[in-house]
């Protein structure tokens, strides 16, 4: 899932300094799961902003909504009735949410409450880690199911580099060396010979370097006539 964390309250308050009424939109997707932008967190952020503004002598009115997913137009449309009289919309989704909201409500000032961090998973309760670099050309079959593109600080495909020591990465003694993990895993699998092959340079055009990416499933597209999100 997409892991996103809330921005500092002062930064969010700064965006809406001149607003009297704002709509806060939570998301029922990834940010609900990673406990930063779901129903509960959206309510807490609204309260915090109201309290801050009351203490400053400039009360703020807030409206709170949570949609199933902000990355699908049909769920966003449900906000039509509540956006009319607000001065700004604060999205608690990943970076997709504010863009979808801005696309639908072209005359509204839309701001993000979140910093979108990475594609990852839960490590333990309250801890999430990055696992996928979204490179568009998965190499996990070669690397024992451990991603060097994102879990190696240098994204090298023929590791480990000379900075790997005691299983840790040169950038931080608390960060596992992905290539040590790959080595250990391939050893268990009896596939260490894989590491002797020189992996050629990656086609980064399938990553973000090729510009904004798009995926089309033709049979689905051809069978539907739903509107396109902005």
């Amino acid at each position: 899932m997409i892991i996103a964390e809330q921005k500092p309250i002062a930064e969010i308050a700064g965006y809406i300094e001149n607003c009297n009424k704002v709509l806060l939109v939570g998301c029922g997707g990834c940010v609900t799961v990673c406990l930063t932008g779901g129903e509960k967190e959206t309510g807490i952020l609204a309260s915090a902003l109201r309290i801050k503004r009351r203490l400053e002598g400039r009360p703020l009115e807030t409206v709170v909504c949570v949609v199933t997913r902000q990355c699908e137009p049909e769920y966003i449309n449900a906000l039509d009735s509540v956006v009319r009289d607000v001065d700004a919309i604060i999205s608690l989704a990943c970076g997709i949410g504010p863009q979808y909201l801005a696309g639908r409500y072209k005359d509204k000032y839309v701001v993000p409450a979140m910093n979108t961090r990475f594609a990852g998973g839960a490590k333990k309760h309250g801890v999430w880690e990055e696992y996928c670099g979204l490179c568009g050309d998965c190499v996990l079959s070669l690397t024992g199911g451990i991603c060097p593109v994102i879990r190696c600080a240098k994204s090298i495909l023929n590791g480990p580099c000379g900075g790997s020591q005691n299983g840790k990465c040169e950038i931080d003694r608390d960060v596992d060396c992905a290539w040590q993990l790959i080595h250990d895993r391939l050893k268990i699998l009896g596939r260490l010979d894989t590491l002797k092959e020189i992996v050629p340079p990656k086609d980064w055009s399938r990553s973000r370097d090729g510009g904004p990416r798009k995926m089309v499933i033709e049979e689905v597209r051809n069978g539907s006539n739903t509107e396109e999100a902005n």
Binding site: S155, N158, C161, E170, I171
Partner: protein, 277 residues
């Protein structure tokens, strides 16, 4: 400064390494500095990391370097930018060190750009080197990785600074058992230390280094730490020359101490250097 330091080396070395923004601190480009020392009559080994340039910039810089007379190229990943003076920079790592070695060799052997497109003009014909760190982990994979670099086309190898002679000896035994020393020239890296603090710094703060406590202790108790540092380095070279098979030469990595290089070379019986036409 570069010219002054080059003159300090005199005729004590065959070639000098020029680092490519080592520890990710901005310095004069290795190619630019390499040209300066070449004009002073010292053969440069230009280092090229994968940290700061994509495959377009790497090839462009290599064409420029070769046209200016640079002939030796050391290919390496490069220290992560978080160690340097621009920790908020974006890194590149479009290719890694092993891919770089193979692609530079392909330029030379097949006259092809990295993309596979053919050269029209003069292809760069570098003497291609790589690094090996016997002190990084996993230890048992380090020789495999060196072999991988040689398979990619590395013609000479420079090791990380050696202090743990026992581990280096084991590493070289494995290299010799596979005949790697006959497929590439392996240069042992040695660094004379000026003080116990320098030793402690390398021991605790530089990833991929092993500095035995004995070395810190010797420098700490020495009356003249610099003399002791030099002597430790000479002992290491002597040990490697006499006891370790497969080493073709030495790389004296005299960090902030270039004036010691002639003393080390002369003191270890490696002077005069052979003259090559």
């Amino acid at each position: 400064m570069i010219i002054r330091q080059t003159r300090l080396l005199g005729e004590s070395v065959d070639a000098a390494n020029i680092t490519d923004c080592q520890t990710a601190v901005v310095r004069m480009s290795s190619i630019g500095a390499g040209i300066h020392i070449l004009r002073e009559g010292v053969e440069p080994v230009v280092q090229m990391t994968c940290r700061d340039r994509n495959r377009i910039a790497i090839q462009s810089d290599l064409l420029g370097a070769y046209s200016l007379g640079i002939r030796n190229l050391l290919c390496l990943s490069g220290d992560h930018q978080m160690f340097g003076n621009h920790p908020t920079a974006k890194n590149v790592y479009d290719v890694d060190s092993i891919q770089l070695i193979r692609l530079v060799r392909r330029m030379k052997d097949e006259k092809l750009f990295f993309s596979g497109e053919a050269f029209n003009g003069q292809e760069p014909r570098f003497f291609v080197g790589a690094v090996a760190n016997p002190f990084a982990d996993p230890f048992e994979y380090r020789v495999d990785r060196l072999e991988k670099k040689i398979n990619a086309g590395a013609e000479f190898i420079q090791t990380q600074t050696i202090y743990d002679l026992e581990r280096f000896t084991r590493f070289m035994e494995m290299c010799v058992a596979r005949g790697l020393h006959e497929r590439a020239y392996i240069l042992a890296g040695v660094t004379p230390l000026k003080s116990w603090r320098a030793a402690r710094f390398l021991q605790t703060s530089v990833p991929g280094m092993i500095v035995p406590d004995e070395i810190v202790r010797r420098l700490k108790s020495a009356e003249d730490p610099r003399e002791e540092g030099k002597n430790i380095c000479l002992e290491q070279i002597k040990y490697i020359k006499e006891k370790v098979k497969g080493v073709s030469g030495f790389h004296v990595i005299a960090i902030s101490w270039p004036e010691i290089v002639p003393d080390i070379v002369k003191g270890s019986g490696l002077y005069p250097r052979p003259v090559i036409d």
